[in-house]
Structure formats: C-alpha cells, structure tokens
Amino acid sequence: MNAPAPATGARTLVDKLWQLHEIVTLGQGRSLLHIDRILLHERTGPALLAGLAAGGRTPRHPARVLGLMDHIVDTTPERSDRTMLAGGEAFITSFRERTRAAGIGLVDLDDPRQGIVHVVAPEQGLVLPGFTVVCPDSHTGTVGGIGAMAWGIGSTEGEHAVATQTLVRPRPAQLRVRFEGRLPPGVGAKDLVLRLIQRHGADGGREAAVEFAGSAVRSLGVEGRMTLCNMAVEFGAWTGIVAPDDTTLQWVAQRPLAPRGAAWDAAEAHWRGLASDDGAAFDTELVLPVDALVPQVTWGTSPAHGASIDGHVPDPAQARSAAERAAWERALAYMALQPGAPLAGTPIDAAFIGSCTNSRLSDLRSAAAVLRGRRVAPGVTARVVPGSMAVRAAAEAEGLHRVFIDAGFEWRTSGCSLCFFAGGDSFGAARRVISSTNRNFEGRQGPGVRTHLASPATVAASAVAGCLADPRPWLAA
C-alpha cells in the first residue's frame, strides 16, 4: 500500500520521520532512506555478514551497527558458548568472529548489558526517539515505543543497510489506532494489542505504519508502549510507533547513552516536534474503547485467535467465512479444545514469562504482584527470563527474584529462550503453556506445544491456579 506524500500542511509523526531520513525520492512511491542504527543478532547476523564479505563489501559506518547475542544462547546461569541446542555454538562463534572482522561492536554473552536486542537497544540508549532502526528480526518495531521508526528486514536487505547505511522503502499507508479510555486494573498493553489483533485480524495492519495513540496509550509507560509496538507485526503492520512525550523523554534521559547537556537540549527540542500535527491525515483510523476491557488470552494458533479470559472457546460455526471456519477447526484440533468450553480453568503444564514482548522490569513487577506470597500449582513448570541482564539486575535490586523463586519459578539469565523452540531447551513435547510471548503458531514453542498468549499478570495467575486464570481477583486480594 503506497500513499502519496502530503505536499504541505499538517503532517503525521511518520511523515516527519520519513522526511527527516529521505535522501532521494525514487519515484513509484519509493524513497532512499537514511538508517540511523542497524542491529544484528547471532541467529541471522552470521549469514548477513558472510554475504557482505562475499560481495567484497564493508560496513559504511561500523559504529552505527551493533551485534547482540540473544536468540539461541542458553539462559542457565552457568551458560557458555556451548548451547543446549546442537550446533548453536557455530552461530555464536561465527557471529563473534564476523562482527570483529567487520569492526562492529558486540554485546557478547558475558557483557552485563547482554539481553534481547529489542530490550537492550532502547534500555542502553543505543536507539533514541526519531531514529530509523532496522534489524534482521521481525520484532524490530518494538522500539517504536520510544518514537523510533524501526522495522524488521531479511538478511539480504540487512547487507544493503550495512553496506550503504540506507534502505529503499515504499512510503507506507498510515493507520492510527486510538485506544481511548482508562485501563482497568489488571489490564495492560498486552491485552490491548491482543484485542486489536483479535478484532481486526493477523493481517489487519496491511503493511501500514501504525501510530498508536489515544488516552490509554498516553497513560502507558514506555515499556508498555514497546509491548504494543512489538506486536504490530503480528497485526500485519509494517511497524508501530508512539509519539515521544514527557513520559518518553523522562525515560530516555535515564539511559546510559542518552545525549547530555547541550546535546540533550537540542535533541529534546527536536523530539518534541515529532508528534503528529492536529488535523494530519491518516489513511485509516481505528478507535478501540478500553474502559471495559478484560484480560485477553489466545485459544488458537494465530495471535488473532484471542478472547477475554472470562469468555469461551469459539464455535467454528460462528466464523465469519469458510476459510476462517477451516482455520478455527484446525486450530481447535491442534489446541485440543472444545467449542463453547470456558477458557478459564483449562489446565496448563507450564508458564513462561519472557521475550521481547513482555520481559522488561514493569512486566516482572506486574507478575510479581500476583505471585507475592503464593506458589506455582503442583505439576506446573514455571520460568521467568528477564529481557536483559540489566533488567535482571534491577529486578534483583528490588527483590523480585525472591518473589519468583519463592513462588517456584526458575529465575534465568537473559535471552529469547522459550519464545520459540530452536531444538535445545524446551518445556517438552505437546505441553500446554501460558506464555507472555508473541506467537502461538503451531509448533512455535516445540512440536505439538499448545501456546496460550497472555500478559505477564495472566501468566502468573495461571501458574498459581494451574489453569488459565483471570489475574484480577489475585490483584485485588
């Protein structure tokens, strides 16, 4: 979907960022864009850097490229290059060698800043508001939560970005999603985005640039906004973004690599001008009221297969089309669920809190609020994997690790962990897992594994209950 640029007048946030980064207009709605930061990880980075070298090319600006180890590293405290995943070591060592050869910095396994790329980059101030950011990873849009325009690419596009510090992109259609109202207690960013995808579909974003706005988004902290933007790709959007505001600037000011002094003043003036102008035109606008929103959980094998935790497994007979009906039937067979059954009370085998979606400090706090003084139900395996070693340290400083450990959760070091099954670490085949991650695809967390996506609070409540459970009564108690 290409859209013409407005000639003058009111501009959206994305219009402004596009104009700030446009080197040349190429026709056919395309632009050559300047890229501020390129992030790489050990899963897709080695092929990218190998391709770059094979083409006789070098990074144009190596200091604006950074590698991180997150995807297949172990998350046990005693971890090393040798992974539980057979063959994983080759990815780690080859990435280390190739970043070094290319003169690219690396946040290595033993670095105190190590963690998931989309968590570490904004946390350290490696990415700032208004930046263009790419990474060969579909969840790159996460940093839209601080007002950066960031999107996932493949390895070959990544070679282009590293070699030229540019990418060619069609100007996206623009969609504004306004979440309006006051978020009820126990309901958070994850519930908002799951509800959006359930309502409008896994391709409802239609490759648009999505600006998340509205009073409920303004009330979210930066971390919750990152959760929203993280799952824009699950909505089929090109990316998601939230305009920087006071909340953003206060958060960014505390980052280790944030600009200081006069540089901060100049940056702040720039950032404050990025919000969409009043009257700026979007191709589409969606408004979702949130006052009555209930915690969400998925029942099927697409992030669009969501429902309220106090709801029921849908009946395929109620599907909106023959294709949807077939997909629902297939999903229910895979998930071993019966139409009409209540979702709450469905027994679970495992609970996972982690991933670039929900592994930041505020996520751990919301789970700990449910877990404090309680125990994971017998027979349930529970694990929490902080999004970065800095998140882990901050959580330990306020004692959250004790809450998790006392409740019976494993307390791990950082990485992508069980967001996907790479062949090593796993909850075991065909288990039912409540998970704070982003994808419930067939087999995503392992062969036959049945994944229910939910917020960290809902994961924590379910771990204690031993079944899918509404966190709200646990928070009130």
């Binding site: 700030l20 083409g55 070959t156 896994a202 996907f420």
Partner: protein, 222 residues
Amino acid sequence: MPMPIPPLQVVDGLCAVLMRDHIDTDTVIPSRDIRSPTGEGLGARLFAPWRFAADGSEQPDFVLNQPPFRQATVLLAGQNFGCGSSREMAVWALAQFGFRCIVAGSFGGIFRQNAVRNGLLPVALPADALQALAARCQAAPTHLRIDLQACTVSLADDGSVAPVPFTFDADDRELLLTGMDAIDRTWRHRAAIEAFEAADRLRRPWAWPVAETPTPGSPASP
C-alpha cells in the same frame, strides 16, 4: 547469502497447492531445522511440521510428498503467506526445494521483500482468481506460467483460459527482470548519500556516535 541473482522473466512449472491462510515462516522452516549459520540444508526440512511425522517418516497425504509435486516449482497458497518471523531461511528453504514462484492472496511484508531479493517470485492475486486457479490445479497436475514481463499468470498448456493479470512493484520488478544488484543500484546515489550524511551530522549530532571516526574508503564498495 544469495549472490548474484540471474534475471527472471518467466517461471513455467508444475504447481503445488497449499490453500491455507497465514502460513507462517516458523512452519515453512522451523527454528530447530536451521542448523547452519549460512543457510545450507534447508530444502530438505521445508515445511517439516507438515511434511514429516514425529518419527521422521513422510506424511503421505502432504502435497509435497506426492510424486508429481516433489518436482513442483510453483506454490499456490492463501492469504498472508510468510507472516511471522523475518527469517530469510524460509525463502532459502523454498528455493532449495526447487520453488521459483509463490502465488498467494497476499504476503507477509518481510517475506515478500526477502523473496524478491533471492529471485523467488512472490505474486499476489485477488481471492477469486486464486480460488479458480487452485481448483484447476487440484483437479489435475497443472503447469502455471508466470510472466513477469507481462505481469500475468496463465495455464501453461491451455490457451482457453484468459491470463490473470497481477500488479507488481515496479522497483522490485526492475531488479528481478534485470538481475541488477540492489546495492550497486543504490550507489548511483552516492553523492546524495554523502551530502545527506554531512547535513545530518549538523542537524542531529546526537544521532552520530562520538566514537565513530571517519571511515575513509568505506564507499569503496562497487
């Protein structure tokens, strides 16, 4: 990884049908089947969760395990094909298996871009045309002819059915038709890139790392 891509104008091949919506890249190539940092050995594990049983044996009812379709070079699928993970290994797995073209209702954006960059042709058709072609290809093994020059899909052996037109991004089409390297093409704008960077260092100094030293010779590329 894909170096260099030969020009592509027409794909003419046997079509396998997998008419499901939202086929994600985790299904195309599961993470656990990505064993090599540089992407070898993926074709053998293409669609592994559907193609193989838990004991590793083939699922006989899966289309790519059926004799004529083991040689398929065109895949017909539903909406939002290739959604999910950005892993370019999904495209490499399809290409290693032998596919040259995917015809679908729509594509995940990153997948489509990856496909173009690897010379795997991603063609999106309206739902009704797609259904009609799928019915035809499921009734009997059928060759489809996808012509990127004319932007049409037709039945290779049957002129009685009118070719179905499709739209294709002009920029991607140029790259595929010519086999031109995308990085080389961008370097045509070298002067504009350098001018932009010089201006941007003044306009947004905080966006340029202090540690960065000038990189003489970095535009050595082409």
